[in-house]
Symmetry: C2
Subunit: 191 residues, 2 copies
């Protein structure tokens, strides 16, 4: 998505440790009109798929998932991250390590909101090493829902998660794929 690549080039900031901050439109401030365009693009990519529900993960996945859901007329479920959650039998839970925040969280979805046989589109803001996405995929497997595919705003391809998940046979559509990233250069994969 050319408009997203341009936005990243204009507003993104690279920090040590392969961190790309896009707080001006996605992770702290939300450029709602622009994110609605991102949602429209996700809707276009998956227009031929039958989908019952969008699954995302708090916090920064919510806005994009909401935008896509507006265009696709679907409900969203957002997985919760929690360290101290009083776990019960009523939830699916996976331990997920965060590359960005250098910590480990429980990723939790209530069993109430994922039903066997449902067709689910997973949406997230970033895909780097892929831990969060793998956690969501594990939850989907346990819930016996069918993953139609994944839609990601920004993939950092040099961290390998996206291509690893693709090679397992899952459709992963990333709207901007960064092949190389340094303090002053971003190179996107041609799509």
């Amino acid at each position: 998505m050319k408009a997203l690549e341009d936005k990243i080039l204009k507003e993104g900031k690279v920090f040590p440790g392969n961190i790309l901050k896009v707080g001006s439109f996605l992770n702290h401030q939300l450029d709602v009109a622009f994110l609605m365009e991102v949602g429209a693009e996700i809707s276009r990519l998956y227009k031929d798929s039958r989908i019952d529900k969008i699954l995302t993960i708090e916090t920064s996945g919510i806005a994009i998932a909401f935008a896509a859901a507006c265009h696709m007329n679907l409900p969203v479920v957002f997985a919760k991250k929690n360290n101290s959650y009083n776990l019960s039998n009523d939830v699916y839970c996976k331990r997920v390590e965060s590359f960005t925040h250098k910590n480990t969280n429980n990723v939790i979805v209530s069993k109430e909101f994922l039903h066997k046989g449902e067709r689910v589109l997973i949406i997230d803001d970033f895909l780097a090493v892929g831990n969060a996405l793998v956690g969501l995929l594990d939850i989907c497997r346990e819930a016996e829902v069918e993953v139609v595919g994944c839609a990601i705003a920004i993939e950092k391809a040099f961290q390998g998660g996206g291509d690893k998940i693709r090679s397992s046979g899952i459709r992963v559509e990333s709207l901007a794929i960064i092949e190389e990233m340094t303090d002053n250069t971003l190179i996107f994969r041609k799509q």
Copy 2:
């Protein structure tokens, strides 16, 4: 908002400690079409106000703020909650106690995204004792932005926060105001 009261009566679940769970449409699963109606109602209530930006707080404020922002054509800033945030001079930060989760968080907004003189509408999902809202109002005061008012989906009036903030002269519009809540009864304030 009658449709919201009906939705709470139909789908809300009351738990010990004055907890009302609306996970089926607001706090875990998002009924996106319905939340867009909630956003339209917020837009209607503030249609005569000049507003530059919506301020909300992660996690559950984001979806409603996004919905309202779609109708009002505004950007959103969501405050972050964090215990271990490496605080710098670049952020506004207030300590806020959570009634629901029985813990204390830093509520943080980057100085980059609130500018002196901006006119801000604060949106959140719940208003109970009002700690989160007071924290956001404190941040707005420190940032020297002008708070046009607050829009809340569900106010638990019996916990007092809403009326206390109103009595300080701030406009607080809550779409559903619960006066009394027991395991099997919810009584709404007439509006």
